[in-house]
Symmetry: C2
Subunit: 303 residues, 2 copies
């Protein structure tokens, strides 16, 4: 079992969905990733919070396999985001994004983190992602997240990141945008030529499609009766995926497939309640059971 380093946002989220609302709950990409990954391995967090991130809020990281040596605490307010989801939970509207202390964030990797074998670069400015890669000693396996904002705004910096990571997590629209190709098979090949051999395409309720050395792997979304809040589902997937992989002795095709199921399992819990609520309460047994539900959902025998 090897540790995973994650860099990304820790935020205070306010969320409105048709099923209710919450205000200033702990969120952010690095948080969702870390809570999910810590169910599988040790996690090292590189992020920043303001002095409004009080002890009560810090509690969510306690009694978990989460190392906070890389969590900077600076004067000012924590990153704040407010979003509102429409009826079908597919579309969301951002009410505000206040970067606050995140605006001047420069990732500083503590010496104890330098030899992290697994690295997840959350969806932040590609230049910051590069700064992290520059401080970690040749990680065994690195995965970056990104989005349309960076694909359009900082294409050169993003290309540098892509040339240096093993994996990339994006959604299908972004895969098409980044490659300039609408067919996903061709799009994947174009993106692989930019660097990352592993491409993980998130498709929301339709599941995940992943390229592997020996061909594609795909899993549909688990049909869920109660979907309450999709916030953080993608980062939760990333945490389950890389956390599971870091616990494997070898990153091979079979481990990668199971890692996708582990990520999908964690994401399926995440969306069942607001914010981190369900992720914080889920047990090892529940995770195992839901993993098996994915098996039942998709299993069939050869002809």
């Amino acid at each position: 079992m090897q540790p995973v380093l994650v860099v990304g946002s820790v935020a205070l989220d306010s969320i409105e969905t048709p099923f209710g609302s919450v205000s200033r709950v702990v969120g952010g990409a690095a948080t969702y990733f870390a809570i999910a990954a810590a169910h599988f391995t040790n996690v090292r967090v590189v992020a920043v919070v303001g002095d409004d991130f009080d002890d009560e809020r810090m509690k969510i990281f306690q009694n978990r396999r989460i190392d906070l040596a890389g969590l900077q605490r600076v004067s000012g307010e924590t990153f704040r985001w407010k979003g509102r989801y429409k009826d079908n939970l597919d579309d969301r509207e951002t009410i505000y994004t206040h970067l606050n202390v995140f605006e001047a964030f420069r990732p500083a990797i503590p010496p104890t983190y330098c030899a992290s074998p697994f690295v997840f670069l959350g969806n932040i400015h590609p230049t910051l992602q590069l700064e992290v890669l520059g401080q970690v000693e040749s990680p065994q396996f690195s995965v970056a997240d990104t989005m349309n904002y960076w694909i359009e705004g900082t294409p050169d910096e993003l290309r540098l990141v892509l040339s240096r990571v093993d994996g990339l997590v994006i959604n299908d629209a972004e895969a098409r945008q980044l490659s300039g190709e609408s067919n996903l098979v061709k799009a994947a090949r174009i993106i692989q030529a930019m660097g990352p051999k592993l491409l993980i395409i998130k498709r929301g309720e339709h599941g995940v499609l992943m390229t592997r050395p020996n061909g594609f792997f795909a899993v549909p979304g688990l049909p869920l009766e109660s979907v309450c809040d999709p916030t953080g589902a993608g980062d939760t997937f990333g945490g389950g995926f890389l956390g599971y992989l870091a616990g494997c002795s070898d990153v091979n095709d079979e481990a990668l497939a199971r890692a996708v199921i582990a990520g999908s399992t964690m994401a399926s819990f995440s969306v069942e309640a607001f914010g981190l609520e369900r992720l914080l309460s889920v047990t090892r047994d529940e995770i195992m059971q839901r993993f098996s539900e994915f098996k039942r959902l998709t299993h069939f025998e050869e002809l």
Copy 2:
């Protein structure tokens, strides 16, 4: 191996996609269904063509396990449809629909068809679907296709059909529309209460979701490098699905799962060329190989 009866359209299609165009090629729901199903079992066709449906066009049915005793030939032109697909092949625009001889079509089941154990009611007026059910002696397994047009326009007639069939094939938007429920798990339960215990939800490139007595089964779409023409993919799926099932000794959970893969396999061939071209040339070996590709795409071991 038991025979399958299909009722639906036989048409002359004109199709434009970003990859080319074809004019007045043989198409229609019953045709796609029959050609796909005949790879697995004997098929009985109930449909109508005009006197423009010449011997050359009839050839596509020859040397296949397709019984045309129920294919009416009447004076006038065959059903004609013209459609145009946009760049991503998701959206299509109907240029024209000329019902022609299909306008006065009343399905007449030949005596040799009356004891058909498997029945597929193509996407036609629910009243015609009911007329077919009235002429077949208590089929073992019946599946109906429908669409938003009938959900909105003839809800009472559709309800009668639903109360009498075992299965329903629709897409996810239609499932939400028919049930008035956006969550697919709840939507499925509501539709099952209307009659069909088996609900097969088509999701285009995202694959298929099916309810079964013992829980959902789902398969993602196979990533295809060359998608040329999606016309008929849904009916081809239906033909592969019900054709495979009719070849099984028992309609149980495992057979249903494999039937979804058989349907998805046939649909994946159908979209690779214009119209019926690929479906007409595909071999038993190619079908077996692609079935295995679905297995490789989705297989993972338990934790």
